[in-house]
Amino acid sequence: MMEVCGSTNVSLREFGCEQTLLSRPDGSASFVQGDTSVIAAVYGPAEVKVSKEIYDRATLEVLIQPKVGLPSVRERSQEQCVRETCEASLLLTLHPRSSLTLVLQLIHDDGSRLACFLNAACMALMDAGLPMSCLFCGVTCAINADSEIITDPTAAQEKESRALMTFAIDSKEQRVMMSYTKGSFSVHELQQCIAVSQKASENVFQFYRDSVRRRYSKNL
């Protein structure tokens, strides 16, 4: 693990989460990071169209709905990032020839959108009871003009950054499952950002645990 530079701050905005808030889907969750808010809904394992079925695994479909307008190319590329992360952590071979649908609705965007999608997706998949080999979380880092690394940037901080990176980190070994980067940065800065994201992911995973514990506290 790389040494974290002294000028970085691993501070994340206030988290908020609620599970099972929608009555129709099999699993749903809302995730709030500061002012960025996302609702995720999971349906599955359900019937799949013969053209889309895979003989030995479940077919995962991710749909991202923006706050206004119809989904565009940007949403499609984010869907692919979320889908690849989910497919790496779900045990899809337990439900062959079924479909899993994940719908993510953006409620408000104030930066770190992709990370919030990943966090909401993970909580919704847990809520639906789908078998997962590990949890995952999303962390966004921005490098501003002074070469400082800011975690969980707001929309204003993202706009004046020269590089923006989102990493999906897994809960077992804190490895990077997916990365989405924009802007120009050096290899050393990339490694620093990965180290910072791995450190920040511990906070997110602890928050997941606390949320789930609170949810099942009536059953204990």
Binding site: T20, D26, G27, G44, P45, A46, E47, V48, S89, L91, T93, L94, H95, P96, R97, S98, S99, M126, D127, A128, G129, L130, P131, M132, S133, C134, L135, D170, S171, K172, Y208, R209, V212, R213, R215, Y216, N219, L220
Partner: protein, 206 residues
């Protein structure tokens, strides 16, 4: 055997939590080696030779002598062999009925799997009827199969039912609480008014 498994009973676990097998450092030469068995229920999976992985979030439960499982608030039903469910007939084609039970595909029910059914004496089943049936084949690789007769050939409560009545969809947790041996929910319900109740483990209640 699995260190910490018994300690964590009653605690909330999340996917990714692992338990590893204790390796016995010293083997006794005088006592016979007692193999310890652990039966894994829903939510726990074996990983390799010496590891146990939690795959669902929920509370770890234990039943004597060696059964462990994770209890969660799942709403989607996944078929399992031996469970009794309420299904709705959707297709009646030739020798086989297709039933919808709320899973990822429809289950098949042969017309001979009813009490007293023969090739000449077909059961009176129409599309849209409610059927209380039991799974005999229910794994991820094959199409689920149901029967309305037990191993001795008797109906034993299974079969077509429900000419008048209401079908509700409830959560799987409520169904499990109703089917417990000394269910508190059921006894309270019986005190309110007498009723005839059919509980399907796929989250359907008639």
């Amino acid at each position: 055997m699995f260190s910490g498994l018994r300690e964590k009973v009653g605690q909330v676990l999340v996917p990714g939590d692992e338990f590893s097998l204790e390796v016995q450092e010293t083997l006794s030469l005088t006592e016979p080696l007692k193999p310890e068995k652990v039966l894994l229920g829903p939510g726990l999976k074996r990983r390799g030779d010496r590891k146990l992985l939690v795959v669902k979030s929920g509370v770890l439960r234990h039943k004597q002598p060696h059964v462990f499982w994770v209890e969660n608030h799942q709403r989607r039903y996944v078929p399992a062999k031996g469970e009794t469910i309420i299904g709705i007939i959707t297709v009646k084609s030739g020798d086989v009925f297709k039933l919808d039970f709320g899973g990822s595909e429809q289950a098949s029910l042969s017309y001979l799997a009813f009490e007293g059914a023969t090739k000449r004496n077909r059961p009176n089943v129409q599309v849209g009827d409610l059927v209380f049936a039991q799974f005999i084949v229910a794994n991820q690789h094959m199409e689920p199969e149901l029967v309305c007769v037990d191993s001795a050939g008797r109906a034993n409560g299974l079969g077509v039912f429900g000419a008048g009545g209401l079908l509700f969809s409830v959560s799987l947790g409520l169904v499990r609480r109703l089917l417990r041996p000394r269910s508190d929910v059921l006894s309270d319900l019986q005190k309110l008014f007498p009723c005839e109740l059919v509980v399907g483990m796929n989250g359907r209640l008639w």
